[in-house]
C-alpha cells in the first residue's frame, strides 16, 4: 500500500514542478465554460451555464484522465517502467499509484473549474452535495484513468496513444448529454448517449447541483452515476487481479475485462 503513495508522490512532484502543464490543462475547460456556457443561444433552459457546468466538470476529468495515459507511455518508453518492474515492490502499485495521481490531478483541475463557475454565478446549495460531487468525479476519474493506463500499456508509442486518445475523448463527449438534454436529441443520438458512462456521471452531478440526491427518479440517476464509479473500481481491481505475479513487461490482457464491466454495469 505504501508503495502506491510513493509512486503517487513521484508523479505529483514532477507535475507540480511544471507550472505550464497546470495552466495549459485548464485553458480548454475554462474556454468551454465561458465561450460556450455563457454564449450559446439555447431555448430549452434559461440558465445554460448551470446546465453545462456539470458537463465541463466531467469533461475536465475525462480529458485529464485520458491524458494521464501518456504518463504511462513515457514511463514505458523512457525505461522507468522496466526499472520499477524489476523491483520487489508490488507491481500493481505502479498502476494504482498512477491511477490515484491522474484522478487527483483531475480533481484539482475540476476544483478550479468549479471556482470559475462559482464566480460566474453557479451555486451548489449544500456542502454535502459538494462532497458528493467530488466523490462522483473521483470515481469517474478512477474509471477512465484505469482505462487510459491499461490502453497505454498496450500501445507502444506516444503518437499512437495521442491518436487513440483523440479518437475516444471528443466523440465520447459529444455522444453524451453534456450539451443537450436527452429529449432534445435525435433518436439515434439518444441511444448512444444512454449507454455512455459520461451521461450518467453528468446526470448524477446535475442532480447534486440541483440540490437533490435522494428520492424518486433523481435518486435513481444518482445511483447510476455511483454504479459507474464503483465499476471504475472494479476495473482497477481486475487490473490488479490479472496483473498479480505476471512475469512480463506488460501487465496482462485486461481491456476486455474493463469494457466488460462497463457493459455489465450498463445492464443493471
Amino acid at each position: 500500500m505504501k508503495q502506491i503513495f510513493y509512486y503517487f508522490e513521484r508523479d505529483m512532484r514532477k507535475w507540480s514542478r511544471s507550472r505550464i502543464n497546470v495552466v495549459a490543462s485548464l485553458a480548454m475547460p475554462a474556454a468551454w465554460l465561458v465561450l460556450v456556457g455563457l454564449t450559446l443561444p439555447i431555448r430549452f433552459t434559461d440558465n445554460y451555464l448551470e446546465f453545462i457546468t456539470p458537463s465541463i466538470l466531467v469533461m475536465t476529468m475525462l480529458f485529464s484522465s485520458l491524458q494521464g495515459g501518456a504518463l504511462m507511455i513515457f514511463d514505458k518508453v523512457l525505461g522507468f517502467l522496466n526499472k520499477f518492474l524489476a523491483m520487489p515492490a508490488p507491481r500493481e502499485s505502479i498502476l494504482l499509484g498512477k491511477i490515484l495521481f491522474i484522478s487527483t490531478r483531475g480533481l484539482l483541475q475540476a476544483t478550479v473549474i468549479l471556482l470559475i463557475a462559482g464566480l460566474l454565478g453557479v451555486r451548489i446549495h449544500s456542502p454535502l452535495n459538494i462532497v458528493l460531487v467530488y466523490v462522483t468525479l473521483f470515481l469517474f476519474g478512477v474509471l477512465f484513468s484505469a482505462i487510459a493506463t491499461t490502453l497505454a500499456l498496450h500501445i507502444s508509442d506516444h503518437d499512437g496513444y495521442a491518436a487513440v486518445n483523440s479518437m475516444i475523448s471528443m466523440p465520447l463527449f459529444f455522444a453524451s448529454n453534456a450539451l443537450m438534454p436527452y429529449d432534445k436529441m435525435p433518436e439515434w443520438l439518444r441511444m448512444l448517449a444512454m449507454v455512455n458512462p459520461l451521461s450518467h456521471t453528468i446526470d448524477s452531478i446535475r442532480v447534486l447541483f440541483a440540490g437533490g440526491a435522494a428520492g424518486g427518479r433523481d435518486g435513481g440517476t444518482g445511483c447510476r452515476g455511483w454504479g459507474y464509479g464503483v465499476c471504475g473500481d472494479g476495473a482497477v481491481s481486475e487490473d490488479w487481479g490479472v496483473n498479480r505475479g505476471v512475469c512480463c513487461p506488460h501487465f496482462g490482457d485486461d481491456d476486455m475485462l474493463i469494457f466488460g464491466s462497463i457493459l455489465s454495469c450498463q445492464k443493471s
Binding site: Y6, G79, K83, A86, M87, A89
Partner: protein, 253 residues
C-alpha cells in the same frame, strides 16, 4: 542458467543458454541483436523464459520472482532518471520503494559513495550524462543488492565519465557484489571483466577470462579480434571479409 531460451514468435532470441556466474564481474558481449538484453531481461524477471530456467542466489527467476527482485538491481541502458526531481529525491524514491530501513542515512551514504553529495539538491535536469549514470547506480545500490545487472553502463559517455563508472564498478566488486553486465566496448571488457561470454544469434560462443581468450588467438591479439573471430556479423554474411580487410589495412600501415 540452464538451457535458458526465449522465443519472440518464431524468432529464437536466446537459444538454450547455459551459464554459471560466480562472484565476479561478468561481461556479456555480442553484436546488436544477439540476445544480450533479452538474457538480462529474463534474469531480472522482466521477461518470462520460453523454456529452461535460471536462478539467482538460489531463487528461481520465475517461481521466486519477487525474492529475485529483492536481491538484484537492474540498470537498463535508457538512463531513466526523473529530470524534474533532485538527485536526492530520485534516490529517495528507490529507498522508499525498496523499503530500506533508516533510509535517510542510507541515501546520504550512496550519494557520497558515487560522489554526488554536492549536487544532490539540484534538479537532475542540470546533471551531465556521467552524473546521471552515477545517479542511476546510486539508485541501484541503495538497497545493497547482491547482484547488479548493468545493460551498457557506459553507453554514450565520454572517456572520463566511463573511467569513473568503471572505477565504481570495480570498487563494488571488491565489496563482494556480483556484477553482470553487457557492453559493446571490448577494451573496457578486457580491462575490467573477470570473465566474458560472447553471444551470437542467441547462442553462447565462448566463455572465459579475457586473457585466456586472447591467448587462444596468439601473441598480440586483442579482445576485438576474439570478438570478430567468434561472431558472424551482418557484413560477413553479405560477403564482406572482415579478416581480409583487416590484414589489408595492416599491410598498408
Amino acid at each position: 542458467m540452464h538451457e535458458l531460451t526465449k522465443y519472440f514468435g518464431s524468432l529464437c532470441a536466446v537459444d538454450h543458454v547455459n551459464l554459471k556466474v560466480e562472484n565476479e564481474i561478468f561481461g556479456l558481449l555480442g553484436p546488436n541483436g544477439a540476445g544480450k538484453s533479452t538474457t538480462v531481461m529474463m534474469l531480472t524477471t522482466l521477461l518470462k523464459p520460453s523454456s529452461g530456467s535460471a536462478s539467482i542466489c538460489g531463487y528461481d527467476v520465475v517461481k521466486d520472482a519477487k525474492k529475485v527482485r529483492g536481491t538484484i538491481s537492474y540498470v537498463p541502458q535508457d538512463m531513466a532518471v526523473d529530470i524534474k526531481l533532485t538527485g536526492r529525491e530520485n534516490v529517495m524514491l528507490y529507498a522508499k520503494l525498496y523499503g530500506v530501513p533508516d533510509r535517510n542515512t542510507r541515501v546520504d551514504d550512496v550519494l557520497e559513495l558515487l560522489g554526488l553529495t554536492d549536487r544532490s539538491g539540484d534538479l537532475v535536469r542540470t546533471y551531465s550524462g556521467g552524473m546521471r549514470r552515477r545517479l542511476e547506480l546510486a539508485q541501484a545500490l541503495v538497497h545493497e543488492p547482491e547482484v547488479l545487472f548493468l545493460d551498457e553502463p557506459t553507453l554514450g559517455l565520454d572517456v572520463a565519465a566511463r573511467k569513473k563508472i568503471w572505477e565504481h564498478i570495480s570498487a563494488l566488486r571488491k565489496r563482494g557484489m556480483t556484477i553482470f553486465m553487457t557492453t559493446h566496448y571490448m577494451e573496457e571488457a578486457d580491462e575490467y571483466c573477470d570473465r566474458v561470454a560472447i553471444i551470437d544469434k542467441g547462442r553462447i560462443v565462448v566463455v572465459d577470462s579475457p586473457t585466456n581468450l586472447k591467448l587462444g588467438l596468439g601473441e598480440d591479439a586483442s579482445l576485438n579480434d576474439v570478438f570478430l573471430e567468434n561472431v558472424k556479423t551482418g557484413e560477413d554474411q553479405a560477403g564482406f571479409d572482415a579478416f581480409r580487410f583487416r590484414t589489408m589495412l595492416r599491410r598498408r600501415s
